[in-house]
């Protein structure tokens, strides 16, 4: 979908056109679903949260200033819904875990299909500082943009680029050096 089409869809949705909102849903639902699914690890739960996210998005559609802000705004709503989901489950999950829910995402990598070299890369990835690991995961495994990653991690896009750069350099060094204790 082009920028112009998205802009028109947003304007139309803001004037109450549900079909136009459907276009926005079609454009972002898969990406949002992937984001939610990796954080809750269950299809039906992720679908419920996705539905809640878009219902809230519709209710607050007039708060969006520009079509370029739509993805960040949707991620923000989804993020809050995921946190709410874990809050409701607080009888079985501690509050500390709720706070770190977004960092504790399930891996999107199909570990059973990994080759030797790929397994080694994944193992080395675990030796990176947590934030560097997260940036690699968001960028490579979840296909998020720097803008989206910045929003999820509460950082600037510049900070995301720095983390990304450091993660790649460090990973290269680790792979060159081989396994360490």
């Amino acid at each position: 979908m082009t920028d112009e089409e998205l802009k028109k869809a947003l304007e139309s949705a803001q004037s109450g056109n549900t079909s136009a909102f459907g276009i926005i849903y079609d454009n972002y639902s898969e990406k949002m679903f992937r984001f939610i699914f990796f954080r809750v690890g269950h299809k039906e739960v992720a679908e419920d949260i996705l539905a809640d996210t878009f219902v809230k998005a519709w209710q607050k559609i007039n708060q969006v200033q520009s079509h370029s802000a739509i993805p960040s705004w949707l991620y923000q709503i989804a993020k809050n819904n995921i946190i709410d989901f874990y809050r409701v489950r607080k009888t079985t999950i501690s509050l500390e875990e709720v706070a770190s829910v977004l960092e504790d995402a399930a891996t999107p990598i199909d570990e059973l299909s990994l080759g030797f070299e790929q397994r080694k890369i994944l193992k080395m990835l675990e030796q990176l500082p947590l934030e560097q690991q997260q940036v690699i995961q968001y960028k490579f495994f979840e296909d998020l943009t720097n803008q989206e990653i910045a929003l999820i991690m509460n950082k600037t896009e510049g900070a995301v680029r720095v983390l990304q750069h450091r993660a790649i350099i460090k990973l290269k060094e680790l792979l060159k050096r081989g396994p360490t204790s």
């Binding site: 992937r34 539905a51 290269k172």
Partner: protein
């Protein structure tokens, strides 16, 4: 500055790899080529298959919810004449439905049905018609509370069927999810009805809402312990909503001014019969036919029992406990106990033997 260039180069390399663009320029560089290789390897790691086949169904759910929200009370007020027409049509439809149903015995079966049974949708239809025909908001709130009790009873029956192996996990989860959603919606509707009315909150309705929440808590907690997985999750969500509605109801009762020495109007915690009400507080109105604590009005009858006081001795500012019963939409006092006298505000000695207390039946 060198790091800044590298950051941008790496960022550009990643984007180019993901977009499957031309990488030739970096392949030739001795410094950047190994980084490029690593980036390509990272980008080609196998991903798990994300099950996105339900996105179309989710879209339908979203649009259903959006459409439901659009039929708000504000809109119905604007189109009140439509509502009147609808009520008349609903009345005719209800009459026809009841006549037909009674003839073939379906209505009785429908009212006894539980989710999952083919006849169950009829039960919900009858409830909707009853709501449409409700004479006023108070009656509507009472009906919603009654329906919420129905949902709880159904929930118990469905869980029982599941535990007996008569219903599969998948079907149980589906039914529970829908029932819990209905329950949450009904509870929210009652809370909204009792908080947005222009007039003073109806304590009788609020009290029944608190009782409903207590019953929800008991039923849902018990069911949560026995359940697992997604069923447990649905029940936990419902429990949370139930807790919030209870707090809101109590808050509204307190806001209605029914407070005695920092103690809110007392609500019977374990009344099994939803038609029973218990309230305590300062008498604000006393007549031959009725007494009131704030907006909670109790009608007096020949069956009213008086403890520590005679009926003729009741007066404003006395602190009493009243047990009431709702019959035909009106609340009758079944037992009035004087707790403190208006003059002394001293608690009465509850340890006195019954023979020394003033006790009479009218």
């Amino acid at each position: 500055m060198q790091e800044q260039i590298d950051q941008n180069q790496i960022n550009e390399m990643i984007n180019r790899v993901k977009q499957r663009g031309d990488l030739a320029v970096w392949k030739k560089s001795r410094a950047l080529s190994p980084l490029l290789t690593l980036i390509v390897k990272l980008a080609s790691l196998p991903r798990i298959n994300v099950p996105t086949d339900g996105l179309g169904r989710v879209k339908n759910q979203i649009f259903n919810r959006i459409r439901t929200a659009e039929t708000s009370p504000v809109r119905t007020r604007v189109y009140w004449h439509w509502l009147t027409t609808l009520k008349i049509t609903g009345g005719i439809m209800a009459s026809v439905l009841i006549m037909v149903s009674l003839t073939i015995g379906v209505a009785v079966a429908a009212l006894e049905s539980v989710p999952g049974q083919p006849i169950y949708p009829l039960k919900k239809t009858v409830e909707k018609i009853q709501l449409t025909l409700a004479a006023n908001e108070e009656r509507k709130a009472d009906l919603q509370i009654k329906f919420a009790h129905n949902r709880l009873d159904e929930l118990e029956q469905v869980l029982e069927k599941n535990s007996e192996g008569k219903l599969s996990e998948k079907d149980t989860q589906k039914i529970i999810s829908q029932t819990v959603k209905d329950l949450q919606q009904t509870t929210k509707d009652v809370v909204t009805a009792t908080t947005t009315q222009d007039k003073e909150p109806n304590v009788s309705t609020l009290t029944k809402l608190v009782e409903l929440s207590n019953k929800q808590k008991t039923v849902l907690e018990s069911a949560t312990i026995k359940s697992e997985g997604e069923i447990k999750l649905e029940l936990e969500k419902a429990l949370e909503v139930s807790k919030i509605s209870r707090e809101e109801a109590i808050e509204n009762i307190e806001r209605a001014g029914l407070v005695i020495e920092d103690q809110p109007i007392t609500l019977e915690e374990k009344i099994s019969d939803p038609s029973k009400i218990k309230a305590s507080g300062k008498l604000t109105t006393v007549t031959n036919q009725s007494v009131s604590i704030g907006s909670a009005k109790f009608l007096l009858s020949s069956a009213t029992e008086y403890v520590n006081v005679k009926s003729s001795e009741l007066k404003i500012d006395q602190i009493v406990s009243i047990v009431g019963e709702v019959r035909d939409g009106e609340t009758f006092a079944t037992k009035i106990t004087l707790e403190k006298n208006a003059e002394t505000l001293e608690p009465l000695d509850s340890s006195l033997p019954d023979s020394e207390k003033n006790s009479e039946s009218q």
